[in-house]
Amino acid sequence: MEEQKTALYNYHKNLGAKFVSFAGYEMPIQYKDGIVKEHISTRSYAGFFDVSHMGQFFLEGDKTLTDALEKIIPADLRSLKLNHSKYSFLLNNEGGIIDDLIITKTSKGFCIILNAACKDNDVKQIEKFLKKDHKYFLNNDLSLIALQGPKAVEILEKLVPGVSNLKFMTGDNFKFDNEDLYITRSGYTGEDGFEISIPNIKVEKLISFLKENKVNAVGLGARDTLRLEAGLCLYGHDLNEKINPIEANLKWAIAKRRREEGGFNGWEKIKKLIENGSEKKRVGILPEGRIIARENTKIFSESGEEIGLITSGTFGPSVNAPVAMGYIYTKHAEIGTKVHLEIRGKKHGGKVSELPFFKKSYVK
């Protein structure tokens, strides 16, 4: 299959982007400045990310649509207010995570932002629960731009007045150059910022404005270091179909009403895990010194027993130290527990750490 490109592909190319193949898309991993500078400038000023490879899945329907979606998504969709968003997931019958997502209540139904690598399968999984009169479509005519960082609000307010009134995890419709935009105050870097859903034909105009305001493009490389410092999961690495939300330490994303009432895929199993605890658990891991514990690094106890596996690991430019997360047997998961990490055949010290590594600055 031919690699897909986002509407901004040529724009990235002109900025000197290095591309990688990601989820069937040719995506910029970094630009000329490199990952560390892109990361730091996002945290100190602002950066924009082309995340148009992600699925923008729109669903339309009445109350029966809400009921259908609640069978596969454990969020409280019935009480989700218009233009409010929740982080949640699609669950399989075993309570495993098919994908993690952001779902927003729209006037006609819902919009779900899906991971690029999962989106086609996600639609098939959701489809199983839908009724004939529910409408749904992945909108490929829209780009998705994340604008993240402490200056994001000030800059975007100049172009789209009113966005500064949005609170974290809410959104609204706006006008830009006679086109409709949907903007949410959200993101995946731990910074304040926005995700802007915009027609492909207008996206270059938006980006030109951001560039004029000294906002630089940030690639997938820095997106990864930013989200890992913020303790956020990357699907396919920290989450997959064999991992359930309790192990993943994401119980908070299962609404209280849903935990009690159930009625969603995998509820019986998840209920038991909530009551009895899970055998393993997602934790932060801080390696000693500067050595990086990358994905698939084995974790050992101090007594030499293999107790877990790293699922994401990199060097955190803002923390100025290596950071990682992984799964570890719950009895070893207490914060501060010393562990050994096997890197290139040698054991290195490390410890179980709190998440996030870098404090989030959301505007709530």
């Binding site: 970094q30 990952i35 560390v36 270091t225 050595i291 990086i292 990358r294 060097f315 290596p322």
Partner: protein, 126 residues
């Protein structure tokens, strides 16, 4: 100090008597991106030609650094261990990786000169 020679694995070597200084090329650092971790060999370690001798990690990935010549390690450069970013800023100068006592100087002679290396890089983009 001799002229610099280059390996296909993007190391540079310069020779002074029977002591070789080895580092990674500017081209290598451009491919790697921001370097955030370096591991250099301990003195006394013996290394074979094209054997793994050091490690360099960027934000993207870990890579081995090979020794383009056989011999015994005399010294690893601790300053790049403490400040790996220096490898990006001066890869072919102060940010050498290790010095090695060369066993067989003919190994050095078989390496590429600058013009051949530049041509090699142009023909093998990655």
């Amino acid at each position: 100090m001799s002229e610099k020679k280059f390996s296909k694995k993007h190391e540079w070597v310069s020779l002074d008597g029977d002591t070789a200084t080895v580092g990674i090329t500017k081209h290598a650092t451009e491919m790697l991106g921001d370097i955030v971790f370096v591991e250099v060999p301990e003195p006394g370690k013996s290394v074979e030609k094209d054997g793994q001798a050091a490690v360099v990690e960027s934000t993207k990935a870990a890579s081995d650094v090979y020794s383009p010549v056989s011999g015994e390690i005399l010294e690893g450069n601790k300053s790049i261990v403490d400040d790996p970013g220096n490898v990006n800023s001066d890869p072919e100068g102060v940010s050498w990786f290790f010095k090695i006592k060369v066993k067989d100087k003919s190994e050095f002679d078989t390496l590429m000169n600058k013009a051949d290396y530049d041509k090699f890089c142009a023909e093998n983009p990655s």
